[in-house]
């Protein structure tokens, strides 16, 4: 296997893949939720090491990919204002809105800055009291504690010129929406390890029992992912549907309690629109009313900006695991990472981009089962 050779623990990975081959009898579709895991799976060819009965489908866990077009348009509108310093994580810079992206706004003279931490944006607000500093707060539960703390810090420092454009999304409601959707094929989930490092994994217990799906908390490295898959298959074969932690070196059941407390203070659960999927009830966080003064959506009055997606793009089906990226007619033709049409091609963690960058232009080849099982 060409990919396998590339990582040091190829030996261990082969052993684990062989174990998965040995225990698999049925046909199982398993969804990895996190975009980082999708990237790792494609990069290391993990999907090609699995038995024919085990199919990985790639979930909606790339926050850049699921941020709705209209939110990006709102960001672009705010970033274009002359008195604004607009701060964003690097990944959002080239995500296309309806007509432009943050890089283009910057090249036209907008003051757009790439920051590593939301606290960098707070520092900028302190240094430039005459400017309005807006931070683009996207991400899952993993990123939210950082953004929440930045708001608290701005409040503590008495800053009146710091604002946040919030589009946070939550993993468990999206997983539930996938389970409820007609034609759902997902039989087990690999729950995203770093989301669970913040939130713990008790939220998954009712989901596992209500829908009868195993949920295995899984890390990002190739061996972690194989271990998550192995445990999910063992449960499926035994007819069990439990929550298991295959990433105990990072994740505890309770999660990070100080972070959860700050999240509860700063954010309120809200309905959220997911790019390519649509609105999912109670699937996001917005700033709590007590922090309305920091809410860029209210202060800059951009809520009237709406947008429609390219009709060519099938990323909604891709995000729900109903279509492989390379089965989309536009994949690699009208749509490439340089000229992305849709959500899942814009970020290196999106399923379409991960397929493109790993050269998966054809639907899955048969894995060399005999070779791996030996």
């Amino acid at each position: 296997m060409k990919y396998l050779e590339e990582f040091r623990d190829g030996q261990a990975a082969r052993r684990m893949a062989a174990e998965i081959h040995a225990v698999t009898r049925g046909e199982w579709a398993i969804m990895e939720v996190c975009g980082g895991q999708t990237h790792s799976i494609l990069r290391n060819g993990i999907d090609q090491m699995l038995p024919a009965g085990v199919e990985l489908i790639h979930g909606p866990g790339c926050p850049v990919c699921v941020t709705p077009l209209e939110v990006i348009d709102r960001a672009l509108a705010i970033a274009s204002l002359p008195d604004v310093i607009f701060c964003s994580f690097g990944d959002m810079m080239r995500v296309p809105g309806s007509t432009s992206d943050l890089f283009q706004v910057k090249s036209r003279g907008g003051d757009v800055r790439m920051v590593y931490s939301p606290l960098d944006a707070v520092t900028l607000a302190r240094k430039h009291p005459a400017r309005r500093v807006v931070f683009f707060a996207i991400g899952f539960e993993t990123t939210a504690p950082a953004n929440a703390m930045a708001v608290l810090q701005a409040q503590r420092l008495g800053l009146r010129n710091f604002f946040m454009l919030v589009s946070h999304v939550l993993a468990p409601p999206a997983m539930e929406a996938i389970l409820q959707s007609p034609g759902n094929r997902v039989r087990a989930f690999l729950a995203a390890g770093h989301v669970c490092s913040v939130m713990g994994y008790h939220e998954y217990l009712p989901l596992a029992s209500r829908y009868g799906v195993p949920m295995v908390v899984t890390g990002f490295e190739p061996l972690d992912i194989l271990e998550g898959i192995r445990r999910a298959v063992l449960q499926l074969e035994a007819g069990r549907a439990e929550v298991e932690n295959a990433y105990p070196r990072v994740v505890t059941e309770a999660g990070n309690l100080p972070a959860q407390e700050v999240l509860r203070r700063v954010f309120t659960v809200c309905d959220r629109t997911w790019r390519g999927i649509g609105t999912i009830a109670r699937s996001g966080w917005r700033l709590a009313d007590a922090f309305a003064d920091f809410d860029a959506e209210q202060v800059f009055e951009v809520r009237d900006i709406h947008a429609t997606e390219s009709p060519l793009c099938q990323s909604g089906l891709v995000l729900q695991g109903k279509l492989k990226p390379n089965q989309c007619a536009a994949f690699g033709h009208e749509c490439t990472p340089r000229k992305p049409l849709g959500a899942t091609m814009v970020s290196s963690e999106g399923a379409c981009a991960a397929y493109y960058n790993s050269g998966r232009f054809q639907p899955r080849a048969q894995p060399a089962v005999g070779q791996l099982a030996r």
Binding site: G90, T142, H194, S197, L223, N256
Partner: protein, 101 residues
């Protein structure tokens, strides 16, 4: 953005009421907020996400993760983002601030 990478805490201080620390990521040093890990000590390894330490891990798993990320080619991407931040003055030694007016 989603990748959280392990680093080692070199020093801890209180800055504007916030528990901050200098963390070493494979040679790149960066200020990190430690508010969510009140128990973390100098010398400990922690997983850092967008400038915030979220979990303490042991040294062996930290090294293991760094090696795996390096092999996957994602460590460089992530360290690049650490280096490229446009925020003035908050970047570590040897890094240019924003070129903005």
């Amino acid at each position: 953005m989603c990748l959280a990478i392990p680093g080692q805490v070199l020093s801890i201080e209180d800055r504007d009421g916030m528990r901050m620390g200098m963390v070493d990521f494979s040679g790149i040093r960066k200020e990190v907020c430690l508010a969510y890990l009140p128990e973390v000590q100098v010398g400990d390894y922690t997983i850092v996400h967008v400038g915030f330490a979220l979990t303490r891990i042991d040294e062996a798993s930290a090294q293991e993760s760094l090696r795996a990320f390096a092999q996957m080619g994602v460590l460089e991407e992530e360290l690049e983002q650490l280096r490229e931040s446009d925020a003035e003055g908050t970047a570590g030694p040897g890094q240019g601030g924003g070129a903005q007016p």
